[in-house]
């Protein structure tokens, strides 16, 4: 109180202990998880485009899902990975999963595929979906797969030679892939567009973190990619579309023990509101301080 009297409200605000900010952010993150608000999202064109493209595929088509993220961005990339895999498997579209991100990409791929595939007990590993595992080498590995996937991944993540997997007997290279979906943090999403779409003509879509989304709009706008899931918002929009089209997946999204993007949007809403609130308070303090300085 004494500080407010001495230096004015502006000084008190500008010198606000940042631990108060941290506390408010923590409360804003925890409360919506415990007490979901259930705010609805509006679907944007980049998300709908990817959804519609997968809807147009048949059970004979193959989608390659590349896990190009690690645990750091799992809260954003994880829900979109699950939603895309769930969509493909619900449509009986064949899925080939791989990982190119070195720090935990393989673990993310195995975790998500195993969890989602368990929801479809009639589908068989090796026939309907395959997990190729992780491979180092980034761009070189991606380009080599344009010639022959088995050259880069001689065996799958379980050590089974690709020649013994019925699905991989039909899939030799990108010519046999109808769509690549890269769930990416960092630059690997760009590589799928710059190298694979540009050189082999394979349609590419990217699911990225919100901070990476701005750069991908340039690729989306120039039709170098067919769809974009930007951050948690993009993932929640995809979940909304999936739920509307496939009501059978509703129990998964109603399960409070499974994190999903729609639930995450509650947290994001509160945190964005807190940040905007602090920006306003910070600027009010700034202008109060300026007018006070002008008076002195």
């Amino acid at each position: 109180m004494a500080k407010i009297k001495e230096g004015g409200l502006s000084t008190a605000l500008q010198q606000l202990d940042r631990r108060w900010i941290f506390l408010l952010v923590a409360v804003g993150a925890i409360l919506p998880i415990l007490f979901p608000i259930g705010l609805s999202v509006t679907v944007t064109p980049p998300v709908r485009d990817l959804f519609d493209r997968i809807e147009s595929l048949t059970p004979d088509d193959v989608v390659m899902v590349s896990f190009d993220y690690g645990p750091t961005t799992k809260p954003e990339n994880g829900p979109m990975a699950a939603a895309v895999l769930r969509h493909c498997l619900a449509r009986r579209v064949k899925v080939v999963v791989l990982a190119l991100f070195p720090i935990g990409g393989g673990a993310m791929a195995t975790e998500e595929l195993d969890r989602v595939a368990a929801e479809f007990p009639t589908l068989r590993y090796g026939t309907d979906f395959v997990n190729l595992g992780y491979k180092d080498g980034g761009q070189a590995s991606m380009k080599q797969m344009g010639e022959d996937i088995a050259r880069v991944f001689p065996s799958d993540s379980r050590g089974t030679p690709l020649s013994r997997l019925p699905l991989m007997q039909k899939v030799r290279n990108y010519r046999d892939i109808k769509l690549v979906v890269s769930l990416a943090t960092g630059i690997i999403g760009d590589w799928w567009i710059n190298l694979i779409n540009a050189q082999f003509g394979t349609p590419v879509a990217v699911g990225c973190t919100a901070v990476s989304a701005p750069k991908f709009y340039a690729y989306y706008d120039s039709h170098q990619m067919i769809g974009l899931l930007g951050g948690l918002k993009g993932a929640s929009e995809y979940e909304r579309l999936l739920l509307d089209a496939y009501p059978q997946v509703k129990p998964v999204y109603d399960n409070p023990m499974i994190f999903n993007a729609m639930r995450g949007m509650d947290v994001q809403t509160i945190i964005h509101a807190i940040i905007i609130g602090f920006i306003i308070i910070g600027n009010v303090a700034y202008f109060l301080g300026r007018s006070r300085a002008a008076r002195v």
């Binding site: 720090i103 180092d136 340039a218 905007i276 920006i279």
Partner: protein, 232 residues
């Protein structure tokens, strides 16, 4: 001189030139495609060995830090434990030594020692580190986002609009206006599709030109700093 300068320059020239030439030929041009194919395979192997180089570097640097008892040397011990322990689990698991069978979860769903470490130690720690960003972003926005001049004001307004447009709350703010529910989302998409895309393209084209010119300097032997000659 030949082994230290001319040979590396020649190898760099060939390693840079072959992929460029191969890009313009189809599979039928075996003379170009075969060496390019071989180069790409080598690249995958070299990338694997580069990780080993990184491991050696980290071990050397941190052992030196512990020996000198430099600031925060205690953390170096934990870093080395974090490197050696899961690394050993992974190596032993890959070669199926004793109880360290495999690196993926087992067929019955039980975790291997390595996958246990990844799921219950590595993943939560990584997620925690990244989650801290939310706290620092809020604090930084409070202290740094100021309406100081026109440019800062435009940046601030764009940031607030995009932040609002990315949450359902922003849509609700204008829902009382007929058709207003979609207004902010539509405006956010316009911002992302137009001003943002224009700026991103400028950055991308600039970066690509820079990368191309630097690559050309390396391929033609103009840029030689990677040879480490200036250290002599």
């Amino acid at each position: 001189m030949f082994l230290r300068v001319q040979l590396p320059l020649l190898l760099t020239f060939l390693a840079g030139l072959i992929p460029i030439v191969a890009f313009f030929f189809t599979e039928k041009a075996r003379l170009v495609k075969v060496p390019n194919d071989r180069l790409e395979k080598w690249m995958i192997i070299i990338a694997g060995f580069a990780i080993m180089l990184g491991v050696v570097n980290v071990v050397q640097g941190n052992i030196r830090k512990i020996e000198r008892k430099g600031p925060g040397w205690h953390y170096a011990i934990f870093l080395l434990i974090g490197l050696v322990l899961p690394g050993s689990f992974g190596l032993l698991g890959a070669f199926n030594v004793g109880p360290f069978h495999g690196i993926s979860p087992h067929a019955d769903g039980s975790p291997s020692p390595f996958s246990f470490f990844v799921s219950y130690v590595f993943q939560p720690l990584q997620a925690t580190m990244f989650s801290l960003l939310a706290f620092y972003v809020a604090s930084a926005a409070f202290r740094a986002f100021r309406v100081r001049n026109l440019e800062a004001t435009i940046l601030l307004l764009a940031a607030v609009v995009v932040m609002l447009g990315r949450i359902p709350l922003g849509e609700s703010l204008f829902a009382w206006i007929p058709g207003g529910k979609l207004a902010l989302g539509t405006f956010t998409e316009w911002l992302m599709n137009n001003p943002n895309t224009a700026a991103q393209r400028g950055i991308m084209i600039g970066a690509a030109l820079g990368a191309a010119s630097l690559s050309l300097r390396v391929i033609l032997g103009i840029e030689r700093s990677y040879l480490g000659l200036e250290k002599d």
